[in-house]
């Protein structure tokens, strides 16, 4: 059996890179995390209210209420809802950017329609006439109508129709079916303004609704319109970890989330003039690699190698071999500014939403996208000569990975194991049969960030290994997907680590046991997958032996995601405690209270072994309830 990269080996490489950090006198997240200990207990418990200037008010046994009379539940609930809004706004704004790109795409422009079929089928969802129309006309109308989803005055989100009938009814019954996306965010902000909602249940309910506006609204647009513009992902081979950096080439890192930027950089870098120029300057060519979710986007559409996830961003620069790192939005460490100054590395920011000191800002908009991308690639190439080879150290480790399992791709793979004499194609039936018979015990979507509160990557990787050993299929997105990739779990050979059932399924379908479904907006793919499986199985989605898990989550986006996954009916297992434990009522609401509304809730345990055990038990309990 092949040897898989261990977390210890990853940590060894990080440690070696810290020597370089030391040599150039710069700190990294490890030292800063150390400096931040011990965290403020009021902040951790969510019971510090800074919403008006009478305070801040903090809840203690002696002072159980704020000046206005808000109790722990009201304060924690408001803070919690605001974090959901932060996440939903970020994801949805990403979706909005892509919708704008779609609305302005043109046959001879930088952005074109790659998946016409998906464009047409989405247009039909929006009741757009498609017969006999130019695909760009359709795309423009689709983009415009989609943008209205952010602010339409009446009705609920169009994509809710994609959910099972039962879910739509559940959402309507509980009054959590989201209306327009911006409205839910605004309403949540309004609700949490001084002197408004103090009832924790009402705050939680709006949290579910706002999160649904993200998962079944903004994120889903981000996913689907990216597919229309850049192609629906299909399985493609790539490599992961810092070993993908090439010391002989001009290394460009694309970082952030929005494929509108990274797609253009990839396009520009493929132009022969830049490779030629790179060679003139003594490089063997241009090597583009990705970081964070941008990496997931370009890996699954182009096989661009994956340098690493959230907590690897500083390491990438510390190799000393990066000519340029270009970022758009979300999860960009401000630390990259001063860090890049210690090397020859250009740190380029491009979005007015992520303006960072010590970076070079180049405004990136659809109309100037390719021109600016060329400018950025050129900057990187010209910078090759400035590399200080004394500082260059690239850890060699990397793993093979097969990425790009969109729902469409999964169905295509499953078609391969149907039998034309008894089965139909184009369904999840083969997966359902494996789940029903118990050959697979269940499926877990593992998602989310890295977090120094736990041993980074270890929680992801150890949970995945234990789950696949127990015949539980794992699907991943975001930084979790990158952790899996670095550990070799996205390599088809990882089937050797599985229980016999999952191993056989992987052999027959020819897939890895951990399926890469994309970036963090692509958790919308996971909820759609679960919804269709429930529909085709003929049971409620909350009855499925399918759950979500965010073992190392840290961002507000993750809070929004966790809420929409629960709203969709899937129990969600968290390895980091949401910052509400200053209120027992809030803790009860997020773990149990939501079950009465949507049939699912959080299970929280910061011990990853125990959390994993709880996931396996949770899945078996769902199976037992189904009698399978």
């Amino acid at each position: 059996m092949k040897k898989f990269t261990t977390v210890e080996e990853m940590e060894y490489d990080s440690k070696r890179l810290k020597e370089t950090a030391c040599a150039v006198c710069i700190d990294t997240w490890e030292t800063r995390a150390e400096n931040q200990k011990n965290h403020c207990k009021f902040g951790e418990g969510g019971i510090c209210c800074r919403i008006c200037s009478m305070g801040p008010c903090r809840i203690t046994p002696k002072a159980p209420k704020g000046i206005c009379g808000a109790d722990a539940a009201a304060i924690a609930g408001r803070n919690y809802l605001r974090s959901i809004v932060g996440g939903a706004a970020a994801h949805s704004d990403h979706g909005r950017e892509i919708a704008y790109v779609l609305a302005t795409a043109s046959r001879d422009g930088a952005y074109q329609i790659k998946d016409e079929q998906k464009c047409i089928s989405m247009a039909k969802e929006f009741d757009i006439e498609t017969d006999g129309r130019d695909i760009y006309d359709i795309a423009h109308e689709l983009g415009n109508k989609a943008l209205l989803e952010y602010g339409k005055p009446f009705g609920t989100l169009t994509f809710l129709n994609r959910a099972t009938k039962e879910r739509q009814e559940t959402w309507a019954r509980n009054k959590i079916a989201p209306r327009s996306i911006d409205r839910e965010c605004t309403e949540a902000m309004h609700m949490t303004h001084m002197g408004n909602t103090a009832d924790a249940t009402a705050l939680i309910r709006q949290g579910l609704r706002t999160s649904l506006a993200d998962g079944w609204g903004g994120s889903m647009m981000g996913t689907d319109f990216s597919d229309v513009l850049f192609g629906t992902p299909k399985p493609v081979n790539t490599e992961a970890n810092l070993g993908v950096l090439d010391k002989d080439k001009v290394n460009i890192i694309v970082h952030g989330h929005d494929p509108a930027l990274s797609e253009m950089i990839v396009l520009a870098a493929q132009m022969p003039e830049y490779t030629k120029r790179a060679q003139e300057l003594g490089a063997k060519g241009i090597n583009i690699v990705g970081l964070c979710c941008t990496s997931n986007e370009v890996a699954m559409r182009h096989g661009i190698p994956m340098a690493g996830n959230f907590l690897q961003q500083e390491n990438a620069v510390l190799t000393g071999a990066v000519e340029l790192i270009v970022a758009d939005v979300q999860c960009i460490f401000p630390a990259l500014g001063p860090l890049s100054k210690c090397f020859h590395t250009h740190f380029v920011t491009t979005s007015p939403k992520a303006v960072i000191p010590d970076s070079e800002f180049i405004l990136f908009e659809p109309q100037n996208a390719l021109e600016n991308a060329k400018k950025i690639v050129s900057m990187a190439v010209e910078n090759f000569v400035n590399r200080n080879n004394d500082l260059v150290f690239i850890p060699e480790r990397k793993e093979k990975a097969t990425v790009g399992y969109s729902c469409e791709a999964i169905i295509e793979e499953l078609d391969g194991v149907t039998n034309s004499h008894v089965d139909l194609t184009g369904t999840y039936k083969p997966l359902i049969e494996c789940l029903k018979s118990g050959v697979l015990r269940g499926a877990v979507g593992i998602v989310g960030c890295n977090n120094p509160r736990v041993r980074p990557d270890y929680s992801h990787i150890s949970a995945m290994k234990e789950l696949i050993k127990n015949d539980i299929l794992v699907v991943v997105t975001g930084c979790s997907a990158q952790a899996a990739a670095k550990a070799g779990l996205l390599d088809k050979e990882a089937r050797e680590l599985c229980g016999d059932g999952l191993k056989r399924v992987c052999e027959l379908v020819d897939i890895p046991p951990v399926l890469h479904m994309g970036s963090c907006v692509d958790i919308s793919r996971i909820v759609l997958l679960a919804s269709k499986v429930a529909e085709q199985w003929g049971i409620r989605i909350d009855q499925l032996p399918v759950i979500g898990c965010a073992p190392e989550w840290m961002s507000e986006k993750a809070v929004a995601i966790a809420n929409y996954v629960v709203s969709t009916g899937l129990d969600t297992y968290l390895g980091i405690e949401p910052q509400v434990n200053g209120s027992d009522q809030m803790m009860q609401l997020i773990t149990e209270g939501t079950r009465d509304m949507v049939g699912a809730g959080f299970v929280i345990n910061t011990d990853i072994e125990k959390l994993t055990r709880a996931m396996i038990d949770g899945i078996e309990a769902k199976r037992a309830a189904l009698g399978i």
Partner: protein
């Protein structure tokens, strides 16, 4: 509804309980020292040996094996547990079957066959790798009607799938008068489910024999069978828990189960498939196991399949025959200019078969003319030798011999179905065009039945061609060719074995001569036969060349580094496992014993074929043992490094008859010995006693006595 896990666990417990019962029953009559064995196998209890590595030879050991079986019947709700319980079920079944054979009993009688001999498993090697047998089906249970059952079997037969039968289906087939047996590729195992162990043993012995998977390598066995043994199961309703448990064992080995039982049945893609319609079992099953049948559509009124290759037509069932030993007959392939023939021009010249009385010996001449830019006269005999297989594959037609010494029988059934003389042509045309498409652009066939025509053509054209070919063959020696060839056809089963085929040493399966290899290369120059230029001689006497070593190393993926073509002691050629004969050292005489796989009896080495054969195979070099083709025995290069054919001291009588004439000729040429074969002992002279063998050859003045010891 019981879960799949509950059903497998219950069925596995039931089979285990039956095994305990069988043992308890046997204990009444047998002690722990009582020998236990299946006939004609060197692999002990095949399933238990393969999965555990334990060599069970006594009843006591058989009882002990129950502990291991029990240990495999774990009860976690994981696929691993149903897989191990499934294999344990097969092993329990094997224990039950072993008890039946205790005391040297032969528990199975017509129509049941029980355990399959190693020799038969080995015989399957070549057809499996060539795809002539694309797979195995195990049919379990009783079909809804006898007709449906037999129709299913026949449908597999026409697709050349080897059929194993377990349970009621055997009796159904017997009632319908179906011809069964190894030769026609229908193997009725037994009437009870436990007899299924015998076919599991076949699959696992394939891994042991051809794959060199080590006994006891549990996961290695499963990986090999999953990837390389194209077997599957058809189970008729009602499928009980024990059958489900056996099914789990099959699925563990990679063999899908297809059933028409929808009751309490759990579907698993490509593994457990419910097909309510029995008439669609075949297509559903083939798709489930990814078996693609190469279909050659031939316009004949009888079935065409390799399943009929071994069919015997007895005189009583014979409409007529062409018998080259009594009347003039011939078959010939002739290369002609493309402009001189029309493609697919099939002519009957003379009276058709329906004009002869029943039982008549007729004259038959088959002249096949081929043309093609890449056609060479060297390919003529290669194509012509295939006639035997092509004609035999027709249901109701039997072909033996070659050239002008052929015998072709047409059964009454085939005749009644409308078989006539032109159909010989249709079959030959279709097969030649599909198998030799790279060299044959056009092909026309003339079938002669008028005695005068046949006699004239035999003497005027055929004999001249045969003589020319003989001259060519005689001139083909290892010394006067520039290239040898590899043959890696077996690598789908035996991944590290490589044959080096030379004019004087054909492939060990007996199926690939140097001319065949040359033609195979011409037909597909990236195929299994690759050119090995004969350069860089290291030692010509023992047959070592740099180029040969390089080729062996390259095509065995580094498993082998060096090979001597003419020695059985120093780096002998490896075997895949499907060799026709095995030769091994007999220490007392300093000679070698050769035994062909048809011979089930003992040899003076103290080992029968099965055991000798198990000493080598799977691409491993075992000095002192070598698998080879029958024709190699009379080669001047046969163990030339150790003194050649004069080392042969014992062969079965049947083998002596087959190779005697040519062997005598070789011995005369090499050593000036007349009637050398008479100096070689056989089973009628000595069976298993080396001293008696030594006496015999001493009495005969056998030349081996004057040679130095081999080792």
């Amino acid at each position: 509804m019981a879960t799949l896990f509950e059903r497998v666990f219950k069925g596995s417990d039931e089979m285990y309980a039956l095994a305990e019962q069988a043992i308890a029953e046997a204990e009444k009559n047998y002690g722990d020292d009582e020998p236990v064995a299946f006939p004609n196998t060197a692999y002990f209890m095949g399933c238990l040996y393969a999965m555990t590595g334990t060599k069970i030879t006594t009843f006591g050991q058989l009882k002990e094996s129950m502990n291991w079986i029990r240990s495999q019947m774990t009860r976690e709700k994981r696929t691993h547990d149903i897989f191990t319980s499934g294999i344990a079920t097969a092993c329990s079944a094997e224990v039950i079957e072993a008890c039946k054979y205790l005391g040297g009993k032969t528990p199975y009688a017509e129509p049941y066959l029980g355990a399959m001999a190693d020799g038969e498993v080995r015989e399957l090697g070549v057809p499996l790798v060539t795809g002539d047998i694309p797979g195995f089906v195990v049919i379990i249970g009783t079909a809804p009607t006898d007709e449906q059952g037999v129709e299913l079997i026949k449908s597999y037969q026409t697709k050349s799938i080897f059929v194993f039968l377990v349970g009621g289906i055997v009796e159904q087939a017997r009632r319908m008068g179906l011809n069964m047996g190894f030769k026609v590729r229908i193997f009725p195992l037994g009437d009870q489910l436990s007899s299924v162990a015998h076919v599991v043993s076949v699959a696992l012995r394939v891994a042991l024999i051809f794959g060199n998977v080590q006994p006891g390598d549990y996961d290695g066995m499963r990986a090999y069978t999953f990837q390389r043994v194209m077997a599957f199961v058809n189970a008729f309703e009602p499928v009980d828990d024990m059958t489900v448990a056996c099914g789990a064992g099959a699925i563990s080995l990679g063999f899908p189960v297809i059933t028409n039982d929808d009751n309490d049945m759990w579907r698993v893609p490509k593994s457990l498939i419910v097909q309510p319609n029995i008439s669609e079992f075949v297509e559903t099953s083939l798709e489930a196991r990814n078996i693609k049948i190469k279909i050659t559509q031939i316009d004949i009124p009888v079935a065409f399949s390799t399943a009929f290759e071994g069919e015997i037509i007895r005189r009583g069932n014979m409409q007529l025959e062409a018998d080259g030993s009594r009347v003039d007959c011939f078959e010939l392939v002739q290369t002609v200019d493309a402009k001189d023939i029309e493609d697919h021009d099939i002519k009957l010249i003379g009276p058709d078969l329906d004009t002869f009385e029943v039982g008549k010996k007729i004259n038959l001449g088959v002249l096949v003319k081929v043309a093609g830019k890449k056609m060479k006269s060297d390919f003529e005999p290669v194509i012509e030798r295939k006639f035997h297989t092509y004609l035999n594959c027709m249901e109701g037609i039997m072909h033996t011999g070659q050239r002008d010494m052929i015998r072709i029988r047409v059964s009454k059934d085939a005749f009644d179905m409308g078989f006539r003389a032109k159909h010989f042509g249709e079959v030959l045309y279709a097969k030649i065009k599909s198998d030799f498409e790279a060299v044959v652009d056009k092909c026309s066939i003339e079938v002669y039945t008028e005695p005068a025509d046949v006699t004239r053509l035999r003497h005027e054209i055929a004999e001249a061609a045969y003589n020319m070919r003989d001259d060519r063959l005689n001139s083909l020696t290892d010394e006067n060719v520039e290239n040898f060839y590899t043959c890696t056809m077996c690598q789908s089963f035996s991944p590290s074995h490589v044959c080096i085929v030379t004019p004087e040493r054909l492939g060990l399966c007996g199926a690939v001569s140097w001319l065949d290899a040359q033609a195979t290369y011409e037909l597909d120059n990236s195929g299994p036969c690759q050119v090995v230029p004969k350069v860089g001689v290291i030692d010509e006497r023992i047959g070592k060349w740099d180029s040969v070593n390089e080729a062996v190393c390259k095509y065995s993926q580094g498993a082998l580094e060096t090979v001597s073509l003419y020695s059985i002691i120093e780096d002998p050629m490896t075997s895949c496992g499907c060799f026709e004969c095995i030769c091994g050292i007999e220490p007392m005489t300093g000679g070698v014993v050769i035994v062909n796989r048809e011979h089930a009896g003992m040899t003076p080495t103290g080992m029968p074929f099965s055991e000798l054969a198990s000493m080598t195979g799977g691409g491993v070099q075992t000095p002192g043992f070598m698998g080879h083709g029958k024709h190699f025995i009379s080669s001047k290069k046969f163990m030339a490094a150790e003194g050649g054919v004069q080392r042969i001291v014992w062969m079965p009588k049947m083998l002596k008859e087959q190779v005697g004439e040519r062997l005598n000729k070789t011995a005369k040429e090499l050593y000036g010995i007349d009637n050398f074969v008479d100096m070689i002992a056989d089973e009628t002279i000595v069976e298993d006693d080396p001293e008696k063998l030594f006496e015999f050859i001493t009495e005969k003045g056998h030349p081996v006595l004057g040679l130095d010891p081999m080792v």
